[in-house]
Point group: C2
Chain length 410, copies 2
């Protein structure tokens, strides 16, 4: 017997038939003797429809009222899934955020969970009742109003509930079979990982593998919640998916677990910037004030000792704004030339194993050099090496690295 | 300055444009210096759509989960209307049933309001904030779950809120201009009434004038809430509609205020029933047990002193069931013949003035007799005289009575 949390996203509950299928999957876990809480999203399309209504009434609107409107999406799903479970003979009841309550701060539209009261829930689950909990929503601690967690918040709801329930597992049912070594659309030989550490998953998530919300992984890591990513379609129910867990649960650590890429990168180079103390602050200050997130930064050694070349990346959508801000300050910053391009991609290799292995970076550089791919910028962290290359080499680079680190499926 | 409750039904808030129009009407009342609470229904079609989802998941479903799903309709409207009001510069906030709370019993799907806590609401209204309250929903007193009041419950929500707020007026915005002396589709000279008593309105409502829910009128009468029925379209905002109020507020009482008709009547006659004590109980007991609502009853004086003819009416939809029940008990009841027909209509004249005026019934009988209309059954109450006639005479009878009581517009 285990206590588990199961989470189903919008497409998994996107129709009456899908909701009935979800109920059958939940019933299987109940029949296997487990205590079950289910967290669900709004039916696919509903959140957008509700947001559209708010926007049509007034483009700028009170986030508190937006939360009142948008939170109804999950409310409908919990009622329908409870009905579907009951019709299979499974005892179930729905819980809205305010009923438990799921206490959050009052940052409406992007609230953070502070605490979940699970006393009644545990009592009922021990008696065999399935708890069907609305994801994405909570109750503002100081204003007693409905809050929402922001897009993708249902993953976070599920992990937070699993932590509060001290659940043995949190199963996230989604539209992929698990976490892959890289994008299978680029590398057909990509392998599904059986296990991946929280740290690796965080790097994967923030680099573009859109399987789990970053915040939900952070929360899982903080509370040690074992998260199982699984496919929600009945034909995949027997496939275990990928377990996101602590390093201690992974016996055979791979040096590199995955290769990711992000096309949402644009490169800016400032040539011959005065090499004086404080110049970096003068450059990046205005960008930070403009809410532009600077990612990779590299500063070349100056030849004359008086000037330097500075290269950095920003999200593609912020490129024009960044260029404008820097051109406005050209005199103040004292650079000779500004060049900008969005024809670049960031490719990363990720793996906790690289902490204890030398030569990981060298393998990457050699694999790219062998294919004539020029590296423009390099950044590294404890478990990640990222390079910026010309966008047209994306697929070639990802495939080369996937092979070089021995990740190709047999 | 007055404290008022404004209620808008589903068609009045059926689109973004309609919601914006409602916001403008509310803003007018605020600008006039009034304290305002608004009660709204779900956008038209929403309740049916949500009910359809429940039914598609399982035809027989838990009323508590049905309430969770269906109550989202009103929740969406209160959020959107609050946004619309704010965009006009009117301070407003939404309130769900559980937030005030609107306490109800736990008869889910058809709950009754027990109490409304208005402390915070009054505080905010006195500070100029418009309270936008979800109609049709409440919080179950003993189970702490969302309840709904049953179809048309938003009228009841509005009147109950007006009572709890001790409001000066409860304005029910609907798709008619007010209460008419009779159905304008039958009598083009029908007049809109400026005022009507609760008692008359109850008779009108239960006899088929579908302007206000019967329960809401009962509640208004019990608590002395002045209810103004008004049209929700902007072009009618300057027209005052009809005030439903106590008799003391009506100075010039008409003898007869309205003529109504109901086609939902079927007639059953039992010929030569043994005229013994207890026979009526033996006949009507099984009908009551079968949930058949018997309306008009007339028992003829027996000629031989040993048998009698008994005629009564039931709703058209229950006729077959009633006949079956009575035929099964033919021996026990000891009647000679049973005849049944649904080709009848009940026409009623209603007016509190008839209490103090003689000859009101005589005017009715003469008007019908003059047109050769045969009266099959007569029943009377303090403020109503009803007759059962053949259905084909409906329009003729209603027009004749409308003229006979001087109700025709000039």
């Amino acid at each position: 017997m285990a206590r588990i949390v199961m989470k189903f996203g919008g497409t998994s509950v996107g129709s009456v038939e899908r909701i009935q299928a979800v109920a059958r999957r939940v019933a299987e876990e109940v029949e296997a003797g487990n205590q079950v809480a289910v967290v669900v999203s709004a039916m696919s399309g509903e959140t957008n429809r509700l947001f559209g209504l708010c926007r049509d009434v007034a483009p700028m609107h009170d986030a508190r009222e937006y939360d009142v409107v948008v939170s109804t999406g999950e409310q409908v799903t919990i009622g329908l899934l409870s009905i579907a479970l009951q019709s299979l003979g499974v005892e179930a009841r729905s819980w809205m955020g305010w009923q438990l309550p799921v206490l959050t701060d009052v940052a409406h539209g992007r609230a953070r969970i502070l605490d979940i009261n699970t006393e009644t829930l545990i009592e009922r689950m021990e008696q065999g009742q399935v708890a069907v909990v609305a994801g994405f929503q909570g109750l503002g601690q100081t204003d007693n109003r409905v809050t929402t967690l922001g897009r993708g918040g249902s993953d976070t709801s599920a992990v937070a509930l699993a932590a509060a329930l001290m659940a043995d597992r949190c199963d996230i049912y989604t539209d992929v079979q698990g976490v892959y070594t890289t994008d299978p659309r680029i590398v057909p030989k990509a392998r599904k990982l059986d296990r991946i550490t929280y740290e690796e998953m965080l790097e994967m998530a923030s680099l573009g593998a859109k399987v789990l919300q970053t915040r939900s992984v952070e929360m899982a890591m903080k509370h040690g919640v074992r998260v199982q990513v699984r496919h929600s379609w009945p034909e995949y129910w027997t496939i275990p998916g990928t377990l996101v867990c602590g390093e201690d649960e992974i016996v055979e650590k791979e040096i590199v677990s995955g290769i990711t890429y992000s096309r949402d990168e644009a490169k800016v180079t400032l040539a011959k910037v005065s090499d004086l103390p404080g110049v970096a602050a003068r450059i990046f200050g205005p960008l930070a004030d403009g809410n532009i997130n600077v990612d990779m930064i590299v500063q070349n050694v100056s030849e004359d000792g008086q000037s330097t070349d500075l290269t950095f990346t920003v999200p593609t959508g912020d490129l024009d704004k960044a260029v404008k801000l820097l051109e406005e300050r050209r005199d103040e910053l004292g650079y000779k030339a500004l060049t900008a391009t969005d024809g670049v991609v960031k490719v990363s290799v990720i793996g906790v194993g690289m902490r204890s292995h030398a030569g990981v970076a060298q393998t990457m550089f050699k694999a790219l050099a062998d294919r004539g791919i020029n590296i423009q910028v390099i950044t590294t962290s404890e478990i990640k090496i990222s390079v910026l290359i010309a966008e047209e080499y994306t697929e070639l680079a990802v495939r080369a690295l996937h092979s070089a680190y021995g990740l190709d499926a047999a």
